[in-house]
């Protein structure tokens, strides 16, 4: 089953001509055809285009060309621009939009030889934690079809877990890579803010958004991060930090590294099975030679409230561009104001409307200082908690989520409960640091994957991946596949 390969397994076999890119791509397309009617990880995909790219890759391989991702099929969250492909952000408001250009990360994937295919389902405009807020219908969890895959990058996680692609890209504003990766049993990395260019990523909350990979193991995550990272003049928040070969940091040797265990993360709502899995992971890190240090992140309890002010404020401004004038769907009106209002009222789904209203409110005259400015100050406290902790530890270990995947429909009528499911992942974006989720076990009945979150210093991806890799390689979890 070629579609089950990791990037490193596939590229080795492509290089030795044991398999062709066409066969690997066909295997992914066959898997999509077999399972996606039930799973619905993809909003759309173009098999002929994917196969044409694969054949071009095979010709390059035959000519002796070497590139890090040559012939590797990688699927894309529906929030990233891929030239001449649809871009909907899982919303009705973009109508039949076709991207006129490639996002920087897509340019980089193509330059590295990847086969870029498919539009992966998500919560509309990346707003949600379950992929239930999609105008194209919900995605299911490959481990249990009655459960959600997490969100907002639920399609990206489900497609990797179900071997419909070799790897995928998603975006993470408050946990939208790490949380679905945890709930679907794959590896999800949110790079440090500024590590990866956001050019061509439809903006949700510009100071929090970051693009990252979903992969079947940590080595692939390191490989993809190396391809995606780097300064981009088209994103003024990208950083001119050199891009190392992240796979070189995967030495397996973590002796002497210090891991912080924040006492505030062992909260009441934490499921006993999650706590047991994290405790076991901490023991494993100790066996591997890491030192565990109890730390405190005293403002943890304020992160969700801070996030839902800052993220919605930024979203309300960013989503102002969807007004029915230059692109997307339009509902006519007698004057421009009526046209905007009708277009937006008809085009946005309930969660997006909720966040636009909340964000507009916290920025509105008389409330700006009380909500938005106040939240930005609390953000400073949250960031300082982390920077202080990182004076003493190399990384921080936490659960990725308080529970395993929940049932579809369980939280969809209670937005606040849905927001609170992001409690462990949100601080990372507010602080602008990096984080990764790796599989760390399963619940008993039903058998659902659990994720361990490691948080690293700004631009500390090398230590982060070294720790994640050492843990992964000493545990069996990442090798298990859902029966789908």
């Amino acid at each position: 089953m070629l579609n089950q390969f990791t990037i490193s397994e596939l590229t080795a076999r492509l290089a030795s001509r044991e398999v062709s890119a066409r066969d690997a791509t066909q295997a992914c397309l066959d898997q999509v055809a077999r399972v996606d009617g039930r799973l619905h990880a993809f909003i759309s995909h173009n098999p002929a285009d994917a196969l044409a790219q694969a054949e071009a890759a095979d010709r390059e391989i035959a000519a002796g060309v070497t590139k890090p991702l040559l012939g590797v099929p990688i699927a894309i969250k529906d929030v990233l621009a891929v030239k001449n492909q649809p871009l909907n952000c899982a919303s009705k408001i973009l109508g039949d939009f076709i991207s006129p250009y490639d996002a920087t990360v897509i340019e980089k994937l193509k330059a590295a030889g990847a086969i870029v295919f498919g539009r992966l389902n998500m919560d509309e405009f990346a707003m949600g934690s379950s992929t239930e807020n999609s105008a194209f219908g919900l995605t299911r969890n490959p481990w249990d079809m009655t459960c959600i895959p997490g969100g907002s990058s639920g399609g990206s996680a489900a497609a990797v877990a179900a071997d419909e692609c070799i790897a995928s890209l998603g975006s993470d504003t408050g946990g939208s890579i790490r949380q679905p990766a945890a709930l679907c049993g794959c590896v999800g990395l949110k790079p440090t803010y500024g590590r990866v260019s956001r050019y061509g990523l439809v903006a949700f909350a510009s100071s929090l958004d970051q693009i990252g990979p979903f992969t079947k193991d940590v080595r692939d995550s390191a490989t993809l991060l190396g391809v995606l990272s780097g300064l981009d003049p088209r994103d003024s928040t990208s950083v001119p930090q050199p891009v190392p070969d992240y796979t070189k940091s995967l030495t397996g040797d973590i002796r002497g590294l210090k891991l912080g265990l924040p006492k505030e993360y062992m909260i009441g709502g934490l499921a006993p099975e999650v706590k047991a899995a994290v405790d076991a992971a901490v023991k494993k890190f100790q066996e591997l030679g890491a030192e565990i240090v109890e730390i405190s992140l005293p403002h943890t309890d304020y992160a969700v409230a801070t996030y839902y002010i800052i993220a919605t404020a930024e979203a309300s401004a960013n989503l102002a561009r969807f007004d029915g004038i230059r692109y997307g769907a339009r509902v006519d009106g007698a004057d421009p104001i009526e046209l905007y209002s009708r277009t937006r009222g008809a085009g946005f789904g309930p969660e997006v409307k909720r966040r636009i209203i909340l964000g507009t409110y916290v920025l509105s005259s008389g409330y700006h200082d009380a909500y938005y400015l106040h939240a930005q100050k609390v953000r400073t406290l949250i960031r300082n908690d982390f920077l202080k902790a990182f004076e003493h530890v190399d990384a921080i270990v936490t659960p990725t989520t308080p529970t395993a995947a929940f049932k579809a429909g369980e939280k969809s009528d209670d937005p606040l409960q849905m927001y609170l499911s992001d409690i462990f992942t949100i601080s990372c974006n507010l602080a602008g640091i990096c984080g990764v989720s790796v599989p760390c076990g399963f619940t008993q009945n039903p058998r659902l994957p659990l994720g361990l979150q490691l948080l690293g210093k700004p631009f500390g991806e090398e230590s982060l991946l070294r720790l994640a890799h050492a843990y992964e390689q000493s545990t069996p979890w990442h090798k298990e596949k859902p029966a789908i």
Partner: protein, 95 residues
């Protein structure tokens, strides 16, 4: 909580977002609940704390002010809901 009295109709007007009366009612209740939760930030004294707008270490990023290749005209118009004569068509703004 006082904040539960969010005037959804007014805020929706600011956001240029047409809502049905049912949506207004539902949003009002949900946002009251969320704002009630957000009130917990008031517990913190932040009077001496500087705000964080973003976490990038970059400041004042500039580039040379020069003409560079950009999207061709017809490409930029390709996704327009209504166009004519190489322009976006909009409702009349000025009488």
């Amino acid at each position: 909580m006082a904040s539960a009295e969010i005037d959804v109709k007014y805020v929706a007007h600011l956001a240029r977002l047409a809502l049905t009366p049912e949506e207004e009612k539902k949003l009002s209740a949900q946002l009251g609940n969320i704002l009630g939760y957000i009130e917990k930030l008031r517990e913190l004294d932040v009077s001496s704390v500087e705000p964080t707008a973003h976490a990038t270490p970059m400041v004042n990023v500039t580039r040379a002010d020069e003409i560079r290749p950009s999207l061709p005209h017809e490409e930029a118009l390709r996704n327009a809901p209504k166009q004519a004569g190489g322009l976006f068509v909009v409702p009349k703004i000025v009488e």
